[in-house]
């Protein structure tokens, strides 16, 4: 197997092909790909359907990488160095075992498409600066564990596609109405009962637009509008009647519908017990390290001195 991979890498290097296709090669560790470091001008890396458990921080040394596809692997954590990749536009880490996104991930300078479908992410696992990704035009968060979408989503002004399919969403933030370019919204398979009236400002009913909202416990008036057609739903949530009903519904504060989907069979959940241990241990070490090292940083941000206490 390894010799076959080596052949592919060598081919790519010799032909100066900036795209490396290593789909379904049983790779467990990126660093074990023979000759991988020599492909420094790689622009596309496709490692779908492998057994990769972690992405090395050195991936950021591939300064020309624009596309990374790591779909269907066993990745539990991404390196923080990803956010320093100057050309990274498309990152697909769907169908992995991610419990969080790395700290500072929102600093990715040119990220346009982020696919984290089918992981174990929730609102608490997003880094604080996540919604600084204002270059993002497509965000795929289907098959995750979000119960609330943070209102900061309204800052992703370039977002055109937002997939929130099959999460545990109880409500949608009204700030979705602030996304003027949104033309595709998937919210099917959640626990949604009402739509914020602010979504009426979105244009999601044309032939170029997509609005998927099935498999939600919608309140009866919305269900009725869905039966006539999607455009009627948007007409309805723009109406004063609905705004009034919505206000009453919110102030009534009804308890959210129960989860109905059983996620235990998701492959992102497998080996959950070992996951928990592996995920926690590096943080403990990091905390311990911070206690004994003082790093002085001058105003220009370069390290001046590192001293042991």
């Amino acid at each position: 197997m390894s010799s076959k991979i080596k052949k592919l890498v060598d081919e790519a290097r010799d032909s100066e092909n900036p795209e490396l296709d290593l789909v379904d090669k049983g790779i467990g560790n990126i660093l074990e790909i023979p000759g991988f470091a020599s492909l420094s001008n790689l622009s596309k890396l496709v490692l779908a359907h492998n057994k990769i458990t972690s992405v090395p921080p050195s991936i950021a040394n591939f300064l020309n990488l624009e596309t990374i596809i790591l779909f269907n692997n066993h990745i539990e954590e991404l390196p923080t160095t990803l956010s320093s990749m100057p050309k990274l536009k498309i990152l697909n880490v769907g169908m992995n075992r991610l419990n969080s996104l790395p700290r500072g991930f929102g600093a990715c300078p040119v990220l346009e498409v982020l696919d984290v479908t089918y992981n174990n992410l929730s609102e608490s696992s997003l880094p604080a600066n996540f919604f600084c990704l204002d270059t993002l035009r497509a965000l795929y968060v289907g098959d995750n564990d979000f119960e609330h979408m943070p209102p900061e989503i309204g800052r992703l002004k370039n977002l055109q596609i937002l997939v929130l399919r099959d999460n545990d969403l109880i409500d949608l933030p009204k700030e979705l109405g602030d996304l003027p370019r949104l033309r595709e919204l998937h919210v099917q398979g959640n626990r949604l009962t009402v739509l914020p009236p602010e979504l009426g400002s979105l244009d999601l009913v044309g032939s170029k637009q997509v609005f998927k909202a099935g498999s939600n416990p919608w309140v009866t008036p919305i269900t009725e509008q869905f039966q006539i057609g999607v455009s009627h739903v948007f007409d309805y949530i723009r109406s004063d009647t609905y705004k009034y009903l919505y206000g009453r519904h919110i102030s009534a504060g009804a308890s959210p519908p129960q989860k109905t989907n059983d996620k235990s069979k998701k492959i992102s959940r497998s080996q959950k017990k070992t996951n928990a241990i592996v995920a926690n241990s590096p943080r403990v070490i990091a905390a311990a390290a911070a206690a004994v090292v003082v790093v002085d940083v001058d105003q220009r941000g370069s390290v001046v001195s590192v001293s042991d206490l």
Binding site: D21, V23, K44, A48, N92, H186, K208
Partner: protein
């Protein structure tokens, strides 16, 4: 009231014209006639009875034997009343007004160019009429402002003070007393005076060939409408704003105002540089390429964004063949499985996953619980599509 009615009586009653009449015109005429004709009429009688006003004059020397009537040329019978006037004689019935052929009331007549008129007809024919009240003027006539006036009719245009004795000042075609004239002058200070009518220009003025005019003295060279202050001069002619805007001077298709600087010609219209903008983002093209669709112009980005030819993967505008699926477009280079990135073509079968294409190979690798859910959602969508 009483003074007004009295004045009207005065105005309407005819004053006798004689040497006491103060009208200089009449006096001039009267003197000229007197030189020719002698004096006032005399009523004579052949049997020596002198009529009214008959004393004195040349009648004493009259020989009546071969005298004939001035008018009809007939002789006189013995006891007929003869009218003698300035050495000429008339039958009583011939001594009448040259206009109405009626005897002169109270024997008073007015003579002009050898003809005698009763007072009424003389006034009708020769007396001046007042420019204010329109009645005949006998007695004192005020000649001013190219018209004749009764002394009591010639008044200040503003304060109506009688001006006959005090004198007046001509101001913009009006006769004013000195006080009112001073006031008017003060009011008009700082305003333009029309070069044509010399009036102070109220409202906007019109400049033409270096002079200032009341705008209404001019008409539009094209449409003939009376001009207002916003008229424009072009090549020495004056035009109303509408016509001026239409003439060769381009009008911006956005703001509808004339373009005086750089002109953009596009979409069969003209535009201010900064007004020719993308219909979506409203940013000016500033000379960059624009795309037209249904009478609207778009920048490259928004044209393709709206009309769908930006590649979903590389985010570039697609020149050439376009793959369209799931409300997205791909360039031939980028159309591939969204998971394994294997190239696809028109014949490749693929699955839909979050509105992205997935090849059969990749789809088969999906965990069975996901495939089950996708299948269920697909069936539901199909059912909904059929029912609606």
């Amino acid at each position: 009231m009483t003074t007004a009615s009295r004045r009207r009586q005065q105005l309407f009653s005819l004053q006798p014209l004689d040497s006491r009449t103060q009208s200089p015109l009449f006096q001039r005429r009267r003197l000229a006639q007197e030189e020719d004709m002698g004096h006032a009429p005399q009523l004579l009688s052949l049997n020596g009875h002198a009529g009214a006003g008959g004393e004195g004059g040349p009648s004493a020397n009259m020989s009546l034997g071969n005298a004939v009537c001035e008018r009809c040329g007939e002789g006189f019978s013995m006891d007929e009343e003869i009218i003698n006037c300035n050495g000429k004689v008339w039958h009583k019935e011939c001594f009448v007004c040259a206009q109405c052929f009626q005897p002169f009331p109270e024997g008073r007549f007015f003579e002009f160019e050898g003809r005698k008129y009763c007072e009424h007809d003389f006034c009708v024919l020769f007396a001046p009429s007042c420019a204010r009240c329109g009645e005949f003027i006998s007695g004192r006539v005020i000649k001013a402002m190219n018209s004749s006036w009764h002394p009591e009719c010639f008044r200040c245009f503003i304060c109506a003070k009688v001006l006959a004795d005090e004198g007046f000042v001509k101001n913009q075609g009006r006769a004013l007393c000195r006080d009112c004239n001073a006031n008017e002058k003060a009011k008009g200070l700082g305003k333009y005076v029309c070069f044509k009518c010399h009036c102070i220009i109220e409202g906007g003025h019109l400049k033409w060939k270096g002079e200032v005019y009341c705008p209404y003295h001019f008409n539009c060279y094209t449409c003939g409408v009376e001009l207002t202050a916003d008229a424009r001069e072009k090549d020495g002619e004056l035009y109303c704003l509408r016509c001026h805007d239409k003439m060769g001077i381009p009008i911006c298709g956005a703001c509808r105002r004339p373009i005086e600087e750089r002109v953009i010609h596009a979409m069969g219209k003209t535009w201010h540089v900064e007004h020719f903008v993308c219909a979506k983002c409203e940013k000016p093209f500033l000379g960059t390429r624009h795309y037209e669709k249904k009478g609207l112009a778009y920048c490259e980005i928004h044209y393709h964004q709206l009309f769908g030819n930006i590649c979903f993967v590389c985010n570039n505008i697609i020149n050439g063949d376009v793959f369209s699926a799931f409300n997205k477009a791909w360039c031939t280079n980028c159309f591939a499985c969204s998971i394994c990135d294997r190239k696809m073509n028109q014949k490749t079968k693929f699955f839909e996953f979050d509105q992205k294409p997935v090849c059969k190979n990749c789809y088969d690798k999906f965990p069975s619980e996901l495939k089950k859910r996708l299948k269920k959602a697909y069936d539901e969508a199909l059912k909904l599509g059929k029912s609606s």
